[in-house]
């Protein structure tokens, strides 16, 4: 065990000091920061500096009253002139038969920044229409705003699922973070193994410890680096979001237990991919060979991302459920589903059990293949050979 930790420490420090690691840790945060600025602050500043829209109108029914930003014009000609001279941003014409048809004509100037003031006009017209009626004020208010929505989703059992507005973002974030962390740390592991095979330090290491100690040290070291990456992302990402106006959107979301599950799924998912990558690396003689061999696992790893829209649209669909039970896709799929709907406990248990069993098998398998394959230099491995190793 002592040597496992020495190897883990060595690999961890060697990895976190690389430019690639530092870059991949900082880059998503930079993107997030940019997004926050783009989505949060820019529209705010624009709306603050922009002058409120002035809307003109030509009223052929003679019922409308002017109000704050609504300016009355006698005829279309004057209104057009005002629009072209930028005195108003748009105007509309209310024809004499408006009450029967509901038709109005809206005039705008062309250009990139012009926008239809539909909702402002509707609110203005509604004010005017209701002013004439003798309904009581509360009823008038209700007509103006008939539905102040609060959406409640029910699960299959009819229980209420508490999800708030930005819930839909969570599965995307989880999928991205988890897939990236698992794939990058198992990728580092693979490169680390092949590099030691290429620079031929591996036999010297094996004269100091067993192949199992070496492999588990490497898995632990690179896994810790991956976990560090995830934690840095989550913590600083959380910090950025909570220090900005976005914080209010996240209120009421139960992050904590999703986070715990995310870490469990990260560890198990990483172990499975790490074991697979170790097999590939031990039997390859160059990094390029290894990357080719790892392709199939990379595909399986990102499959839930490719099917993201299906999973998000129908979290309980057959595809989503199948992916929940496939060891290589279960981590990401299950977490996305949890973020979207209430996943029955038994599905969670089955998913975790399948994953744990696969991890145990993979660790045994990779230890055997690693032990034999790691000292085969300059020899391309065939599937037949691998079965040979397993028998030894």
């Amino acid at each position: 065990m002592r040597k496992t930790f020495i190897v883990a420490k060595h690999e961890f420090l060697a990895t976190v000091k690389t430019k690639g690691f530092i870059f991949s840790m900082i880059l998503p945060l930079l993107i997030l920061l940019l997004m926050v600025f783009a989505m949060g602050f820019i529209p705010q500043t624009i709306s603050e500096t922009e002058t409120p829209q002035n809307i003109g109108f030509v009223d052929e029914t003679g019922t409308l009253q002017t109000s704050d930003n609504f300016i009355k014009f006698g005829d279309v000609g004057n209104a057009k002139k005002a629009l072209l001279e930028n005195e108003i941003n748009s105007f509309f014409v209310l024809p004499a038969n408006y009450l029967e048809t509901g038709k109005i004509s809206v005039y705008l100037k062309g250009g990139f920044f012009s926008s239809r003031p539909t909702s402002s006009i509707e609110a203005f017209l509604m004010d005017n229409l209701l002013r004439e009626s003798d309904l009581d004020e509360t009823l008038k208010e209700r007509i103006k705003e008939p539905a102040n929505e609060e959406v409640i989703t029910l699960n299959e059992k009819g229980e209420v699922e508490e999800k708030s507005g930005v819930g839909f973002l969570i599965p995307y974030v989880i999928a991205f973070v988890l897939v990236f962390a698992i794939m990058s740390s198992s990728g580092y592991l693979m490169q680390g193994i092949v590099a030691e095979k290429e620079n031929k330090t591996v036999e010297l290491l094996l004269s100091s410890m067993s192949a199992n100690e070496l492999l588990s040290g490497k898995i632990l070291g690179f896994g810790s680096a991956g976990l560090l990456q995830v934690l840095v992302w989550i913590c600083s990402g959380g910090l950025i979001l909570f220090l900005t106006p976005f914080a209010s959107l996240f209120q009421g979301i139960q992050i904590s237990w999703i986070l715990i599950l995310a870490i469990v799924y990260f560890i198990l998912g990483y172990l499975l991919f790490a074991g697979s990558m170790a097999c590939v690396a031990a039997t390859a003689s160059t990094v390029r060979d290894a990357q080719q061999g790892a392709g199939i696992f990379t595909m399986l790893g990102i499959l839930p991302m490719l099917l993201l829209s299906i999973i998000v649209k129908a979290p309980n669909s057959v595809i989503a459920k199948v992916l929940t039970y496939v060891p290589y896709t279960t981590s990401v799929t299950t977490l996305m589903r949890i973020a979207l709907v209430e996943v029955p406990i038994y599905e969670l248990v089955v998913s975790l059990s399948i994953l744990v069993i696969s991890v145990l098998i993979m660790i045994k398998l990779s230890a055997k293949i690693f032990r034999t394959g790691i000292l085969m230099y300059g020899k391309k491995m065939k599937i037949k050979d691998i079965f040979g190793y397993l028998r030894e």
């Binding site: 031929k200 330090t201 100091s208 410890m209």
Partner: protein, 296 residues
């Protein structure tokens, strides 16, 4: 010699990969304080045997005792190994690299020992330099240091002199002799027969996985007929009564046929070439090696 402590005792070792038998019922032992030569042509099974001793791969049959004990992972801390397939981490410094290897061998206060050994191989100034900046010969010396750093009782060195210039070869040889004087036991696997002849107490030669020579050099040589050494000028091709010529252009070792008289051969030689030296001597290990492998 029989009363000395056995450092390594190998009995009936057999190993095959698929259908190919790599080691075939191999037995030998190693006595404390000796330099033991491990010889054999390429692919004879030397590296496989060393890897089995270190439990890097497992034998099909056979029994190995190291320091009188069954193999255990902790024994690795008492063994130093310089593999034939060797290399170092290129992107880190000499100190970082050696410190890592030392830590794995459970060495306390490794920096003092690293300084001591770097001094000894003349690389103290390179301690903080990255390995990738070192020459091949320097890297080779760092690898030797990695094998010695934990003061092991048993050293297994696979081609330790390859890639070293004559000065560094002498340095490495002197270090080995110092270690021998300190009572360390050394297995020296090499193709440099002259080195083996000059430094090894006993040898084991394997060919196609089988033990073909085993024992002290004197014992082994006593089983072979003396050969004729000639230093000459001219063109030496075929001499009547000579079974085989190991010719170097100016120097040749001649194995005589059973009933050939040395004086007759000398007369014939003088007729063909200008003889500058003529001597009967025990056959060199090189000759024995070639003979054993060719006659196998």
């Amino acid at each position: 010699m029989g009363t000395k402590e056995k450092i390594l005792d190998v009995k009936n070792l057999t190993k095959s990969f698929d259908a190919k038998i790599v080691l075939n019922d191999l037995s030998f032992d190693l006595e404390k304080g000796e330099i033991f030569g491990l010889l054999g042509p390429n692919g004879a099974g030397k590296t496989t045997m060393i890897r089995i001793i270190l439990d890097i791969i497992r034998a099909d049959h056979g029994e190995i005792k190291i320091f009188g004990e069954e193999f255990d992972e902790s024994l690795k801390e008492r063994i130093g190994y310089l593999p034939e397939e060797r290399g170092l981490y290129q992107k880190i410094t000499v100190l970082e690299c050696l410190r890592y290897f030392a830590e794995l061998k459970n060495v306390k206060k490794s920096e003092d020992k690293i300084d001591f050994w770097l001094d000894k191989v003349g690389l103290r100034d390179y301690k903080k330099k990255k390995i990738e900046g070192l020459s091949k010969g320097m890297q080779q010396k760092i690898q030797l240091v990695a094998a010695f750093i934990h003061n092991p009782e048993l050293l297994i060195l696979d081609e330790p002199f390859s890639g070293l210039d004559p000065i560094n070869t002498k340095l490495a040889k002197d270090i080995l002799l110092d270690l021998k004087r300190e009572g360390k036991t050394i297995i020296l696997s090499t193709h440099q027969m002259d080195q083996v002849e000059r430094t090894c107490d006993r040898i084991l030669m394997i060919n196609r996985g089988k033990r073909v020579l085993y024992g002290s050099l004197d014992e082994i040589k006593s089983h072979y007929k003396e050969s004729l050494v000639v230093e000459y000028e001219g063109d030496l091709r075929r001499v009547e009564g000579v079974k085989k010529i190991d010719d170097y252009g100016k120097y040749a070792e001649l194995s005589l046929e059973e009933d050939t008289n040395q004086q007759e051969v000398l007369k014939r030689l003088i007729e063909i070439v200008g003889v500058r030296r003529f001597e009967m001597k025990a056959p060199s290990l090189n000759e024995i090696f070639i003979e054993v492998v060719e006659n196998a």
